[in-house]
Symmetry: C2
Subunit: 260 residues, 2 copies
DNA sequence: CGCATAATTCGGCCAGGATCGAACTATATT
DNA sequence: AATATAGTTCGATCCTGGCCGAATTATGCG
């Protein structure tokens, strides 16, 4: 009888995540962008009425936050803690008995670079973590991450003032082990600021309707020049220097991308 | 439609945690000890038949593992990832709108020192983290933790050989923000080894039927002498040097323990 | 061997909750 | 004002899944 209250509290939250429709909505929100009720309905595959009910419940429990804008209502995850919890559940699900199926071609873009709530994940993120470590800007050891004094200067020069971000109880820099790469990348406040900065610089841009990120030609050059990223991070991605059309979508896949 | 599979996978896991009976069982297992089906039934407040069904589901999904021993079946959490996920949900639940009620007197022992799956939590754990930091054995920065070279030597002398533990993908040392103290304590492989060592030395012992830990007189002395722990960590705990009866339970509470 | 205890399986009961159709409110567009 | 779109509320339906009673299978003890 000892832990009943804490167990019930867990159950209340988990039950909200335990419905397929709601889980898919939250999963979509893990991209970090606020989405409208309609978009979430499409993600979940249910009607608008049903979605409305779900969103009300999620908002009531403070799992998501809502902001009205015109006739749209934008929903986003309520906090980084929520994202953490969802992330932990994804890790459990991926390790479960019904193994995460091999990645379809659709997933290639996601594996290359994507957002994970407010920071980056995928090959790009892992390679950046490696590069920062090699450059002596961060100390990485078994899941722990510290930004060195050198790193503090370096990132400040790059446009990320970490001293300004220090406030608040959220970890400055922590690692995040992802389902695609099995190696850690950078999360926490630093991870969030880094993504912001790369988006500002337009080194990466969000692909519409996905969590995937596209690395722009500028970004490609910048990553190599400023961070010393070698090209091998983009194995399986699209390294082709083909004159990219300025339209928002790139070729869905290329033949040689097929292998796992 | 993009994230449907991952959403469904999350939902499957979360649905298992989303039942009060199962959540209470798992919550009980967060103490780190394996429990029998009967004990879990009592924790959950349901009959044995119902419990059996729940345990089968949890085992099927690899959230728990079972080991037969005579006519008992001992259940434990399947992995540290599961514990992480439950922990993350606890954090969300604690931050939720139905605020975590003020701690009853029962909780005082838990707040002082308890297990959190395989490591320690509560005031003791937070104070240890502080002491290690002050001693230069670990570097703590905003949720990240690194063991220094000094620390490696020190802990080796204390009986924790970290080089032997390095293998495996589990983080060596990470922090864990708990619901009671709002400050980080040490988890990961190091956290687990530390708890093991303190139990070996009998500096702390498990209190039966709870996640609470009791600090023995030996432990009290050792913590002060070896780790330089000051007495202020036990505010609200039972610092009384009363000749402790050798029986398993100590006085349930003392009047001055009442304040939050 | 007989008895008690631990745990499971089976079957039936019942409630909570997910879903959608239809009607309604609010905002934007023309 | 009329129309279209975003979103919500209400009511009815339906089904999954938790729960227990009863019976069954193991294991330990005298």
């Amino acid at each position: 009888m000892a832990n009943i209250p804490s167990g019930n509290a867990i159950a209340a939250v988990a039950a909200l995540l335990g419905d397929a429709a709601r889980a898919n909505m939250l999963s979509a929100l893990m991209g970090g962008q606020a989405l409208t009720a309609g978009e979430l309905a499409r993600h979940a595959g249910v009607t608008a009425q049903t979605t409305s009910g779900h969103l009300a419940k999620l908002a009531d429990a403070r799992l998501i936050a809502m902001e009205k804008q015109g006739r749209h209502r934008y929903y986003r995850l309520f906090s980084a803690e929520i994202a953490d919890a969802i992330h932990a559940l994804m890790a459990v699900a991926a390790a479960g008995p019904n193994r995460h199926r091999p990645p379809g071609p659709r997933d290639q873009a996601l594996r290359t670079a994507r957002t994970c709530y407010d920071h980056m994940a995928g090959r790009l993120a892992v390679s950046l973590a490696d590069a920062f470590r090699a450059g002596g800007y961060i100390a990485l050891s078994d899941g722990a991450a510290l930004i060195t004094d050198d790193g503090r200067c370096f990132f400040c020069d790059f446009g990320i003032d970490l001293d300004a971000t220090r406030a608040g109880k959220r970890p400055l820099c922590r690692t995040c082990l992802d389902w695609s790469e099995r190696r850690p990348h950078l999360a926490g406040q630093f991870g969030a600021r880094l993504l912001d900065r790369l988006l500002d610089l337009k080194w990466v841009v969000r692909k519409p309707d996905t969590r995937a990120l596209r690395i722009t030609p500028t970004g490609d050059a910048g990553l190599v020049k400023v961070f010393g990223l070698s090209y091998d991070w983009c194995v399986g991605a699209s390294p082709s220097p083909s004159p990219s059309p300025s339209s928002s979508s790139w070729p869905a896949r290329r033949p040689e991308d097929q292998n796992p």
